[in-house]
């Protein structure tokens, strides 16, 4: 099948590539752009490990073709750190609050939490839990993930969280 030319922005960089129409966005990111932060977990749009940010939406990149992302602006975990190399508040939150154990779900969790905080900068615990309900974690029991997101929301809001990691 003939390949299609796509051009898009990934983590702030312009990208022009040839893709087979059947290439899934997750395979394009991982295998063609070598961005292995987005993970393939369930491969059936349940687990959220492949979540990336695409044109202001959280998207499961295992359930979209790369050609459909032609023209899009995409952010992956590789594009989360601040320009000076310091960690984004969410990354810092996951570190400080022990928001991960094995780390497999973390890139998807952080990208989903990023969009959640863009839409709601001061979410309640319930809103956080509902907001990340498309991301599965098999280690943490979610408690510290919620705290990590609360940490980031507080830091981005200019009021650092008092509670230390337990």
């Amino acid at each position: 099948m003939a390949k299609s030319q796509i051009s898009l922005t990934v983590n702030g960089k312009k990208v022009e590539e040839l893709v087979e129409p059947r290439t899934l966005l997750i395979h394009f990111l991982r295998e063609q752009l070598n961005l292995t932060g987005p993970h393939i977990g369930c491969d059936t749009s349940h687990c959220g490990a492949c979540t990336v940010d695409l044109d202001g939406k959280s998207v499961k990149s295992c359930t979209m073709f790369a050609v459909q992302a032609n023209g899009a602006d995409i952010r992956t975990i590789e594009g989360m750190a601040n320009a000076d190399g310091t960690l984004h508040a969410l990354q810092e939150g996951f570190r400080e609050m022990h928001g991960l154990q094995c780390g497999f779900c973390t890139p998807g969790m952080i990208l989903r939490a990023y969009r959640l905080l863009q839409e709601n900068s001061n979410p309640t615990e319930e809103e956080i839990r509902f907001g990340i309900s498309g991301n599965l974690c098999r280690c943490t029991g979610y408690q510290n993930i919620v705290k990590a997101i609360q940490y980031a929301a507080a830091k981005l809001g200019g009021v650092p969280l008092q509670e230390a990691a337990e």
Partner: protein, 288 residues
């Protein structure tokens, strides 16, 4: 899991999309949000050789008022439905239902048109559209026709759409101001299809039901409009005896499969429980 090969088309108008579907024949499929179709393609349960992406057709987007109706473009996403102020005010059951569909990521991409047109009995919007007496606008080679949601569903994944036709919009008569509504869905976890679900839209006059419409999700090969149950309740005060009678009438039209969500008899009973809860919730929200 990698789908079979296909050629990708991205039309920018309904006319172009329908033209492509017509000329490319049976091996062409339209794709909306793709959250049903792409998983099927990954499992090779669907292998279209041409994929016609409707994402760039601007005419298929948006929510607008048209006289006494609200017209929702087929490519409007669940996320957009949830955030529509017009719908929140006029037809709030759509927001309530959308929030129970899948998960946030899927709702950003999944469309209401795909949800109603796919014919999957597990989808939530079809029963709600039957409850609301919505009309689907379908466009094919020979132009547009309108199909009532209540007559659209023929079997699992089998609808009144002709080959080459696409649903372009959903026209919903705005329920009376002060109507009560509820969508009650039993599911095992976030992202699951319903074990059983019930949609209710009713109006009250004093303490009596002036009108009542009921839809049921995932308890038969098609979504169901429980016409008889609605009739039984109309004129009643939603007293326990009448509700029991209506629930029995609703349960009687179900024929769910026995599957991972439970045995058929259990799912039928859960349809009744969801209906009972939806009626109570709708009543509490209704103005008199």
């Amino acid at each position: 899991m990698i789908p079979g090969p296909f050629a990708y088309h991205r039309p920018t108008s309904v006319k172009e999309a329908v033209g492509l579907l017509g000329s490319l024949g049976d091996d062409a499929r339209a794709i909306a949000g793709g959250h049903s179709l792409i998983p099927m393609m990954k499992l090779r349960l669907a292998s279209p050789t041409h994929l016609i992406d409707l994402a760039a057709v601007a005419d298929l987007k948006g929510v607008r008022e048209d006289g006494r109706d609200i017209v929702v473009g087929a490519m409007t996403t669940q996320h957009e439905l949830i955030n529509s102020e017009l719908l929140a005010k006029k037809i709030p059951i759509l927001r309530e239902t959308s929030l129970l569909i899948a998960d946030p990521q899927v709702r950003y991409i999944g469309t209401v048109g795909g949800n109603v047109a796919n014919g999957d009995p597990g989808n939530d919007m079809p029963a709600v559209m039957m409850c609301l007496n919505a009309i689907y606008h379908a466009v094919g080679k020979s132009g547009e026709r309108r199909i009532a949601a209540r007559e659209f569903y023929q079997g699992a994944y089998f609808t009144s759409l002709e080959p080459g036709e696409i649903v372009t919009a959903i026209r919903i008569p705005v329920p009376a101001a002060g109507h009560g509504y509820a969508y009650e869905k039993l599911k095992r976890k976030i992202g699951d299809y319903a074990t059983a679900a019930a949609a209710v839209v009713l109006t009250m006059q004093g303490d009596k039901v002036a009108s009542c419409s009921i839809g049921l999700t995932n308890v038969a090969e098609t979504p169901l409009w429980a016409e008889e149950a609605g009739k039984i309740l109309t004129g009643s005060t939603l007293d326990a005896a009448t509700v029991k009678k209506a629930v029995a009438a609703a349960e009687a039209i179900t024929s769910p499969a026995t599957d991972g969500r439970g045995p058929a008899a259990y799912r039928t009973k859960m349809a009744g429980v969801m209906l009972t809860r939806a009626l109570a919730s709708a009543k509490s929200r209704a103005g008199t």
